[in-house]
Amino acid sequence: MDITPENIVYHELIGLPVMVETPPYRVSGTVVDETKNMLVIGTEQHEVKVPKSCCSFVFTIPDGRRVRVRGDLLQSQPENRIPKRKRKGK
């Protein structure tokens, strides 16, 4: 089972190409690191820290599909993101 639109919220985000849609943070690049409240996105020039809570992200999963994810669904430490299966809505 690879990364799919259904399980992307519980899967590993590091390494995925991402685009941030929310206005003050319009960046696109690759996810380099993740904390509880931030995604670190590596662009061509530098790394940008983007808050998860107020942003909407479009991830490109390995099979080429693009998935829009609400940032508040990702708001958790990377290792604690798996068990939260009851949350819905992407």
Partner: protein, 117 residues
Amino acid sequence: MKRRKQAAARKAFNVDMAGQRIERLFGLAERACRDRPDLADRYVDIARRISMRHRVSIPGGLKRHVCKECGGYMAPGVNARVRIDGRNVLITCLRCGGIKRYPYKSESREPTGQPAP
């Protein structure tokens, strides 16, 4: 009964997801270890946290890439040295100097005792 089945299914999902994430993180660490060793260490740290949080063991082949002393990612030829001493595989972390020993069975030796009369 139904609840127990649901809990088992959830646990299986979590274990599967944790295993996939651990493998993915080690793959990323391998790619990052030459240019960004700090990121490689960070990925290994996350993989270890996932492994401990969900009680999923890191596969044996990948575990050899983690330094038990400093917690960093070890890549042979980049920041780790691999030697054998006849009994053990010795993996030395070149950043902290920590050594891990993996004993192995050598091939059956020639009998050294005196020949029977």
